[in-house]
């Protein structure tokens, strides 16, 4: 999928897995944080630019489960004595709508015992029509095997990393 000359997800409902969401949050604050924050060290600044192009014009939506997982990971990240990680999350929470599903229902989802509550919420959003963007290989495999709309962001990165 080429993202530099087109807007592939325009007007589409899009959701992000936790790692991709962290890249989006941290990169939006300042791209320099991508290599400083441990959880986004698997990405480059170019990855953030490509992700931004990919989701441009789309309707981004997250689950509270992914936001909470992101919060747990971001709370330890400080920069210049500021809670930089949580500031990034706070900024995003003001803008990105959430779709809630009860833990009761998500814990009965077929993905729950394999991938946990957060990924079950992503699968649930996918089944509601969202396109999931993930770097989680097993989750990608599961969602694509169910013919759900999912993008392995690594496939896009591979075009310039390989």
């Amino acid at each position: 999928m080429s993202v530099k000359n087109e807007v592939p997800l325009k007007n589409k409902l899009v959701t992000l897995d936790c790692n991709v969401f962290l890249l989006y949050l941290v990169g939006n604050l300042d791209k320099k944080h991508i290599s400083l924050f441990k959880r986004t060290q698997i990405f480059t600044e170019e990855d953030f630019e490509i992700l931004s192009l990919l989701i441009k014009g789309s309707q981004l939506m997250i689950s509270p489960n992914v936001a909470t997982e992101a919060s747990n990971l971001l709370e330890s990240y400080t920069f210049d004595k500021e809670k930089t990680g949580l500031i990034a999350l706070q900024n995003a929470c003001q803008l990105i709508p959430e779709m809630y599903e009860s833990s009761k229902r998500l814990s009965n989802h077929e993905t729950f015992f394999k991938y946990g509550l957060s990924d079950a919420s992503i699968a649930n959003l996918c089944q509601a029509g969202a396109v999931a963007i993930t770097v989680d290989f097993p989750l990608y495999g599961f969602l694509s095997s169910k013919n759900l709309k999912v993008i392995n962001f690594n496939h896009i990165r591979g075009a310039y990393l390989l």
């Binding site: 690594n154 990393l161 390989l162």
Partner: protein
């Protein structure tokens, strides 16, 4: 320090050295261990399953998955294993 580009290139070169006919190599996943000692890079590729067939209708290539364990300090590939889809 290894860059993401170095890591992916290292894994792809290693793959090619063992499977020269590997084609359409794709990046699937990158992980860093909690202790920062190792990177795990998963690549997929198309490779021959059976010797070239004269029956063109018989598919003889399929996508395979390999996971590479790379030393974060030295950049040395420590292992290459079949990546389970589970």
């Amino acid at each position: 320090m290894l860059t993401i580009n170095d890591l992916v290139e290292t894994a792809a070169k290693y793959l090619k050295s063992f499977f020269p006919d590997s084609d359409s190599i794709q990046l699937e996943e990158i992980e860093l261990t909690d202790d920062n000692k190792y990177w795990f890079v998963t690549l997929s590729y198309e490779g021959s399953d059976i010797p070239t067939s004269t029956n063109l209708w018989l598919a003889n290539r399929s996508r395979k998955y390999k996971i590479f364990k790379i030393d974060a300090k030295s950049g040395e590939v420590r292992s290459m294993k079949i990546r389970d889809m589970k």
